[in-house]
């Protein structure tokens, strides 16, 4: 269910920001940004800080690879808003056909062995966290994944196991493909904080 106060903003400042950014974007400001502006001192600031670090901070993974991981978590959690939003960002830095092959079946997609092994860890973490064992982590490392890559990737997955859930529960409006494209440019420029 959509919460009206989240959609319209809970302060003069946030309502002005929603209007100004919508005009600059040339589209309705996506609900993800409206949530980020709302009741910010509750979890918003802490969530934004960790998301900015995980998605745009230093990492052995490229921004596009991290956005693809976010897209995959969204797919596993059946979140169409986040699939559309993060696929649109990922394909600014990788071949669209590769991203779509991952969404169809990452096991057979033309990606590196270490990304494939990492996605297997993230899939278990997302869908069956109680089954995540050190053996699966060791298997990923045997495929060439470093410990740092695993920590960075599991941070991305943890965050999108939060974000996809509120996108679904709060019934985020699904933008058009053209609107996702516009928002992707903004997210690459402005980030998550």
């Amino acid at each position: 269910m959509r919460l009206r106060e989240v959609e319209r903003g809970d302060s003069v400042r946030s309502r002005a920001l929603i209007r100004i950014i919508s005009v600059a974007l040339g589209a309705r400001l996506p609900d993800a940004a409206r949530v980020a502006f709302y009741h910010k001192h509750f979890v918003g600031s802490a969530l934004g800080a960790w998301t900015q670090r995980a998605m745009r901070g230093s990492s052995e993974w490229s921004v596009a690879e991290r956005e693809l991981m976010a897209t995959m978590v969204a797919q596993w959690n059946s979140c169409p808003f986040c699939v559309g939003a993060h696929r649109a960002i990922a394909v600014r830095g990788m071949d669209k056909a590769v991203a779509d092959a991952c969404l169809t079946d990452y096991r057979s997609a033309p990606i590196s062995d270490h990304l494939r092994a990492t996605l297997a860890v993230l899939e278990t973490m997302t869908l069956r966290p109680e089954e995540l064992r050190p053996d699966q982590v060791r298997a990923a490392m045997a495929a060439g994944v470093t410990r740092r890559q695993l920590v960075d990737a599991t941070a991305v997955a943890a965050l999108f196991n939060i974000i996809t859930r509120y996108a679904n529960a709060l019934d985020f409006a699904i933008p058009t493909d053209a609107e996702f494209e516009k928002a992707a440019g903004m997210m690459l420029k402005r980030g998550y904080a």
């Binding site: 919460l3 106060e5 509750f42 800080a49 410990r147 599991t154 509120y166």
Partner: protein, 112 residues
């Protein structure tokens, strides 16, 4: 061996966990903490919070307007409802972070 990257993620995750139980909320902190735990597979909480927390944890795409509205009726406002929803989401996400951190730590013999 633990790295700076690990420590930074760890600190940011713990800061997020602390906000759920923090003083910035309009709902009772004990309800937010219990809701977060419920979404992570923990013990039941009072209705209507229990149904929403469990659904967010297990299958958020199945959350209905009625489940969210029941919480809105019980809490009396959007801000409180938002806090319950976000607490459940953070609980489910951090439970997965904790599971991954344990597996990495056991596999590499170093704290994550």
């Amino acid at each position: 061996m633990s790295t700076d990257t690990d420590a930074r993620h760890h600190d940011l995750a713990e800061a997020l966990r602390a906000t759920v139980a923090g003083e910035a909320g309009v709902t009772e902190a004990s309800l937010r903490i219990a809701t977060a735990a419920r979404a992570a597979g923990g013990p039941p909480v009072d209705q209507p919070y229990d149904t929403l927390a469990r659904q967010i944890g297990d299958a958020s795409y199945r959350v209905t307007d009625a489940e969210v509205d029941a919480v809105r009726q019980a809490t009396g406002g959007d801000k409180a409802t938002f806090e319950i929803v976000m607490s459940a989401c953070v609980g489910a996400g951090l439970a997965r972070w904790d599971a991954a951190a344990r597996a990495i730590e056991e596999a590499t013999d170093a704290p994550a």
